[in-house]
Symmetry: D2
């Protein structure tokens, strides 16, 4: 009646080490909420900040012992790989230009890696990391968190089953505009690394907010972007990088669409949304109202598909934790990515095939795809013309 | 206490002649609802169809006498200009490639012209018509009907007063997708003139649905489009013309934006909306929910400005007919354009300056602006590069 | 192909006389917009105010000749009944305590009457007027304007066809709260007649806003209220009458429900809505968003039925004037009541049966039903117990 | 810079024992998600079901050792109270008629109790339990989970600060209607205990769904219900208890309102909402859209207060975990109740005053208040008249 769960069979929780994500990190706090949700893991080690005080306080709050609190991820790697109770998984939450080096090091030590988006700061780094993942027996996952929403997974299923017919037009956007990103502080040292050209690159907007709209579009439609026309601009005064990107894109199988990424859509709170139009109808999802997926068919009344209701596909059902009418929200979506990845890790630990648990989790190839788009978009903008993405055979 | 109204001082209703807009015309029925709303005019003559039976039945239903029911607008012009009770105004509702010739003929006879959008089928025609309007003492108005909505007029006022700061990003779209436009009928003779290249031109989508998004963006922001990158495509099988247009545009004073016009956004009912982002916030208006204008400011809660409520500007107040909470809808918005134009006609008839009544009514220059954009968009698409609009000095 | 319309066969517009509805009357301006929409009638006479200046100015603005501008409705009755071109219809827009006397007088002269809601100020008056209507050959209609919305008519159809199963629960409300009704002016002479006990009665809230929620509930469900428990209260200081009414009601065939009428729901703009729950689902309509009717079925996604879309019933189709996506709004809904009534008047004038045109138009019996509810609600409130409605066999 | 947290100072996680909430319990799964969110507690013991297999499997999945897995809560009490590492807190998730006995037993052993709603099945039980809580040094909390939403807490703050003026009208409802509750299964043994008169009482609807609307209304307004008129009915065939309750209520300080509780609002997913109208405006919150709180002021545009935005009060700020634009959802709201209670438990363990942590957590008195309302509502229904609540001096 109640077959033993993966965790039960494994007999212990997965041991996590955190790189970055300290008390001064917004995304770090979200990861903590997400990784705890299903009780599959404990944080047992951390190199959570380059600042010693922050690193120490961040680990202490999680009751991580002092001897597993590190100031440098290299120390963590050296020590944890040699402990019998060393970490199974490392979660990488540093700025993206450091992802490749860190992930490659842990992967080569056979430690699984869950990595924040964007995958890397450059396409070159991303290609190298993709090769490292392919060469490693350890698992790799990318936390494009919005793919964990049940109605996003349902949208993917519905597109694949042909509900809206052949995909024709794809509209994705993540146009943010809260005060924290809208303007640059006067003092250069107060500016976020996200907007420093030396760290994030001139096309930062494409990797940061842009990666979500792009990833979502590819995740839901199952089609890669193949070419792009980009109009990039910098609106905020004193900003070193582009902060608004208008992309007109072509997809595999002939669909066309637009991706808009912005830090300067003043007044937007989040702004992630996706609309997919096919021959027979359209799907529309907004991250700020994530329980619903609107289905519109020509000449018919609109249907508001609602999480936990009706006959959702297997992917949405598996990602659903609460009854309809009780909004699940962002943390549960994020937690689903952790559940996917940790289930794969446990399965691997039990000598089972982890593949099914990873089937919906964004991969290193998905992350590379965003960097290829960013690369082509910069080239397009500089040339004032359409550019193809440099995909690998 | 109750000063005499313009109509009262004029002592009679304005006499209208209709060209096109017969019983088989969707827009014709809307014009009738709109022109009657304020009781300022009567339809007294009509050349409402090229089909004799339709022309006759259409006029008879309006109780137009038989001797003022015409089969050809040229007859109507000849006869009405010589009657002492001839029409004051002609409303032109034919397919757009005929607008210029008809409007010029009536204008040259001193008969005022109210013309459907798009102004013409080509920029060349539009330039010629603009010259004709400039040379005539008769008045000219263009029924870009959505500018009649009070909250659209309020948006224009708010942008001008600087409420959202300097305008930076402009997103306009009219992406339709109902069954009537989504696919082409099998038989060529069943296809709408709107999709016949010979009549509407290859870039029909830019003049038809596209004209609304463009006109709305310029109306609200007060800035003309100066350059465009266009990606045009044809989705519907057998269609002769483009039916989807993605435009990335530059505006005067440095704003950038996107205009999306489509006949193939399957499942959309109407789809007209406009978002304007400035340094200090944004405005968002949707034609399907026209009573409200959303104001969002960074870091603050959203405000849903609502028609008839608060402290709207003079333009919105003048366009408001009902108390808040009673949706006015599309017909009242359209009726406001008629009220503006007919008030101008009456003022002119009384020897007064009609200018104030025309200050918000779309003009021949506004119509020309759309055709210049269409012309540049086609050039851009063909070149695969940005193109400037060929504005006149 | 285009069979002659009723108007065409009649050969002239219907002649209307207005009682009340002058320039100082909000509802009067709405009636003018509504009565003009379809071009079926002209205002040819009026006793539009008891104030001579207002009466004169109101008629003059409509181009009503001076000799048909009256200061007293009795004069209008005397003169118009004897003119060969006298009014066909009189529209009664006075305060409700005058409706019965005026309507009875015109009906007895064979002049059709279209009457504002509530039907009367008391159930006794309403009973007498119902008898007068029954005894007259002239037609009578009641402008419960919200019944003209296509999606209200669609809701009625859907309930009748059993879409939501047996009706169980009915929630209706019209809770207003704009500044004009929320508080009483200091000076008694500035207070609206609607809140004067001597004119409107202690239970004014039941006849005014309350009549709409009640009428809508009966119109859509096809079931009369049979009993009521009422909790009445006065929130606004200095107000002479109740301004908030909570009614728990029983309907024919065993449904139960609640009706809430209020002038003191501070911040509401309009507030009319209706929800009907049956065994198999529910329907939800809000006047502030009138293009949509939400259908919810247990365990299924919600459907937003939308005007002009899908397969609406005949009643909704007939009331639809615009394509989907173009909001029709309140004036068109009101105009549909005029079209219904004027079509009946013309049919009668042509010697045809007017019944089909009146099938959806609120009747004197519908108006009486509201007054019976108000009477029983006052009795219930005074007794602190449930009271049946005193319906006539 | 980073002062040590309560947990850090305590040095270990709080040990929880669960009574009920096994694998077959919907609410049990929600408690697990909520209690894990902040990493403040571990489940270390459980008597999670009266069914041995379920009890065993439920605990095993949580990695609870076999020797702390119990079949009877009395065993758990006996054993855990005598272990040095015994549970600090017991969470009671059984059917409500068992709450009083279980809670009293643990409280008398000095073990803190967190109890599911409704507090008890009868007012008599609730009074006794309230006395037991008063007599105990252990802490008691009631998981009326919706009070954990930041915007509910913000509403409470805004009412207290007088933003909407004196509270006049209060509308609360929890009208559910999903297939699981709408109808009774044919076989009596398949019917939920919630609808068995012997277990849940005839007025079950008042304690179950009804408790939420009532609790929310009192929580936000800070006013207790003082009297009630109730109309109770049973819609579902074969159901033993009332499943629809219409309550017209009076509140302290003269406000009036309505509470609607239902299991038969067919098609509703959840249906909890609260509207509070004061002299100067209103607040509106819906559980299905919990990130927003609508503020409407007479004559002004509506403001959609949004979580994490603007200048929220301290209560909302403290309950906020994510930036605006990332929906927090139901689990985070529930987790906030756990965080409040566990923080109080830790503070007490550290010898500090737990009071501040409990200031917003629903108390035994709040739970008693609901049972007093249910008692008075049944009396009112039976008498057909208003009844006061039997509050204790």
């Amino acid at each position: 009646m109640f077959p033993p769960s993966l965790l039960q069979r494994f007999g212990r929780r997965v041991r996590l080490g955190l790189v970055g994500g300290g008390l001064d990190s917004v995304i770090g706090q979200t990861h903590l909420l997400a990784l705890r949700a299903d009780g599959l893991a404990d944080v047992t080690a951390g190199a959570m900040s380059v600042d010693p005080e922050t690193a120490s306080a961040s680990a202490a709050r999680l009751l991580v012992p002092q001897d597993r609190t590190y100031l440098d991820w290299r120390d963590m790697l050296d020590r944890e790989r040699n402990r019998p109770d060393g970490v199974d998984v490392v979660v990488v939450m540093t700025p993206p230009h450091l992802h490749a080096e860190i992930a490659e090091a842990f992967l080569s030590a056979g430690i699984h890696v869950l990595c924040e988006k964007p995958l890397c700061a450059t396409a070159a780094d991303a290609r190298r990391l993709a090769d490292a993942v392919a060469a490693s027996t350890a698992l790799f996952g990318l936390t494009h968190c919005y793919t964990g929403y049940p109605m996003v997974r349902e949208a993917r299923t519905l597109v694949r089953t042909g509900l809206i017919g052949r995909v024709r037009l794809v509209e994705g956007q993540l146009a943010a505009g809260d005060p924290g990103v809208l303007r640059e502080p006067d003092a250069p040292e107060d500016r976020h690394w996200r907007f420093r050209q030396a760290i994030a690159g001139k096309g930062a907007v494409l990797g940061e907010v842009g990666s979500h709209a792009h990833n979502l579009a590819e995740f839901v439609t199952g089609r890669r972007v193949t070419e792009v026309y980009a109009h990039l601009s910098t609106v905020a005064e004193r900003r070193e990088v582009y902060d608004n990107a208008y992309l007109t894109v072509g997809f595999e199988e002939g669909a066309v669409g637009r991706l808009w990424s912005s830090f300067v859509a003043a007044g937007n709170e989040h702004g992630l949304e996706l609309r997919v139009f096919g021959d027979d109808g359209s799907l529309h999802w907004r991250q700020e109202d994530p329980e619903y997926l609107w289905l519109r068919r020509p000449g018919a009344s609109a249907t508001r598909l609602s999480r936990g209701t009706g006959e959702p596909g297997a992917a949405a059902r598996a990602a659903t934790r609460l009854r309809a009418g009780h909004p699940e929200g962002y943390v549960m979506a994020f937690a689903t990515l952790y559940r996917d990845f940790l289930s794969a890790v446990i399965a691997a630990g039990l000598g089972e095939d982890p593949a099914e648990h990873l089937s919906l989790l964004p991969s290193v190839e998905d992350g590379l795809s965003t960097l290829l788009l960013a690369e082509a978009a910069l080239a397009s903008h500089n040339a004032g013309a359409v550019r193809p993405l440099a995909r690998r055979g």
